[in-house]
């Protein structure tokens, strides 16, 4: 069984070899990285729970009331987001604080040109 560090090194090594040998580009994949979520006491847990399935951009573009964020968090938990029940309220507070209805819209990036 691999330790995490060993696994990390193995993946990097395999990816490098594969890309180097075959000139490989994930032509139908896009960056799994995304805009960072703003700092906060629960930020890393929100990042982990939500980014399991989707991009942070889908969060940062929302402008919702606390009531609406509560519905969204509960829907996502029902759909498989792993949120410790004791963190649920902190998730809702974090999202409501950072992405409220009166915040200006988030500028969205464009798809980059081929380098």
């Amino acid at each position: 069984m691999l330790r995490r560090r060993e696994f990390h090194v193995l993946v990097a090594f395999c990816a490098a070899i594969f890309c180097g040998l075959f000139g490989f580009v994930w032509t139908t994949r896009v960056s799994a990285q995304s805009a960072d979520l703003p700092p906060g006491p629960i930020q890393s847990k929100v990042q982990t729970a939500c980014m399991e399935c989707h991009d942070a951009r889908i969060i940062v573009q929302q402008r919702l009331s606390k009531k609406a964020w509560t519905k969204e968090v509960d829907k996502m938990i029902k759909w498989g987001a792993v949120v410790d029940p004791k963190d649920r309220d902190a998730f809702i507070d974090y999202l409501s604080l950072n992405f409220p209805p009166d915040k200006p819209p988030e500028p969205m990036p464009r798809v980059s040109a081929k380098k």
Partner: protein, 388 residues
């Protein structure tokens, strides 16, 4: 410590960032840049799942080129899809269940429909109060030439029983977590319409992966969600499919509701055809123009109805003038329009566009609010600054 799938998902991006040192093609890894081959310049609403919006500056042609056609994915795209082994099954309330290969479908008579496809949530960003979902502005819409066998020909081969009332589509999207699969159905009457297709081509080329290769449903005039991508299963049902994306998803209140109010899902109906709508593509909102000669242009569509006129106001809605509609037209397809205007003086202006269709519908001053922001179609408006 065992490595879980979750560990793997966290590790791979950083590993690829390391790999990018060795291969420049991967230099995006670990950055905020999004690289989607063939979709350069599109507005990224989400990279995962992929949701790309057409910027207004490229809306200049009646047929939208593939690179500018919006992408709306609810789930992950199929990670592997081998066209040589792919099959489309037809089952349910039919006499002869079928399994058809891509080669089988290509042998059938092909029909072409030029269709304006619009995401039901296009314009959601303009809803007040705001509603959750992809915050599309104007560009989750495009017009393409779709070709493939008629769905009704396939259903005829399978022999639909008298009990068949709805036709369900399932695609090969990969569902994360416990998210319900993206499965929807359409009534048998629309499924057997002569223009409803199993599309294999878009703009005379095989469907691109982001647009549903190798086959997608094409339900013309209806919201994009009806036109299931990566189609692999058609099932004839004795009633409407009951699933998240039929209820509570993609439904509209039966009565007007106060903005922000809760809506009982039992007092809603499924969204089908698109509304009457026009958008202003140029000038771009908040543009500063250095000439008083202003070329205004846009597009207008109305789902299953035809656009009969588009009126424009350059004084914030006090007076209206009809625009010139583009020559190119086809049932289900948008009309481009244009208007040449000479601004009387430097200053701030609000330009409005209002479409009217063959059913007598006109764009309202404000769209009917609903909890998911579907079918936003308020009179479009852009503010510009003329400075000469």
């Amino acid at each position: 410590m065992a490595t879980t799938r979750r560990d793997f998902l966290r590790i791979v991006p950083s590993a690829l960032a390391g790999a990018s040192v060795l291969h420049p093609a991967l230099s995006w890894a670990g950055s905020d840049e999004v690289y989607v081959p063939g979709k350069e310049g599109m507005i990224v609403r989400s990279a995962r799942f992929l949701d790309l919006e057409m910027p207004m500056e490229v809306l200049k042609t009646w047929i939208t080129p593939g690179p500018h056609f919006f992408v709306r994915n609810h789930m992950h795209e199929p990670s592997t899809l081998d066209a040589s082994t792919w099959a489309l099954t037809i089952s349910g309330e039919v006499e002869n269940p079928l399994a058809l290969s891509l080669a089988d479908l290509k042998k059938l008579e092909s029909h072409t429909v030029i269709n304006t496809l619009e995401c039901a949530g296009n314009g959601r960003a303009f809803q007040q109060p705001h509603v959750p979902g992809v915050q599309w502005e104007r560009g989750a819409v495009g017009t393409a030439r779709f070709s493939g066998p008629r769905l009704r020909d396939l259903l005829h081969r399978a022999g639909v029983k008298s009990t068949g009332k709805h036709v369900m589509f399932r695609g090969l999207d990969e569902v994360p977590g416990k998210v319900p699969a993206f499965i929807r159905s359409i009534p048998i009457e629309k499924a057997t319409d002569a223009d409803t297709l199993v599309a294999l081509e878009m703009n005379s080329a095989p469907l691109a992966k982001h647009h549903g290769f190798p086959a997608r449903a094409l339900v013309p005039g209806w919201i994009g969600a009806a036109s299931c991508k990566w189609l692999t299963e058609i099932k004839v049902l004795d009633k409407e499919f009951e699933g998240n994306f039929m209820k509570p998803g993609y439904r509209f209140p039966n009565q007007p509701v106060q903005p922000g109010a809760d809506v009982n899902p039992d007092d809603t109906h499924p969204i089908t055809a698109l509304s009457v709508k026009s958008i202003i593509a140029a000038p771009i909102a908040n543009a500063t123009l250095r000439s008083r000669a202003v070329h205004i242009q846009g597009a207008a569509w109305a789902g299953e109805a035809d656009i009969t006129r588009v009126d424009l106001s350059t004084d914030g809605g006090s007076t209206w003038q009809p625009v010139q509609l583009g020559r190119e037209q086809s049932k289900y397809a948008w009309r481009l329009w244009s208007y040449s205007w000479h601004a009387p003086r430097s200053g701030e202006y609000t330009i409005l566009s209002r479409a009217t269709d063959s059913q007598g519908r006109a764009q309202p001053a404000s769209a009917a609010w609903n909890p998911s922001g579907y079918l936003y179609n308020a009179i479009d408006q852009v503010k510009i600054h003329v400075e000469t």
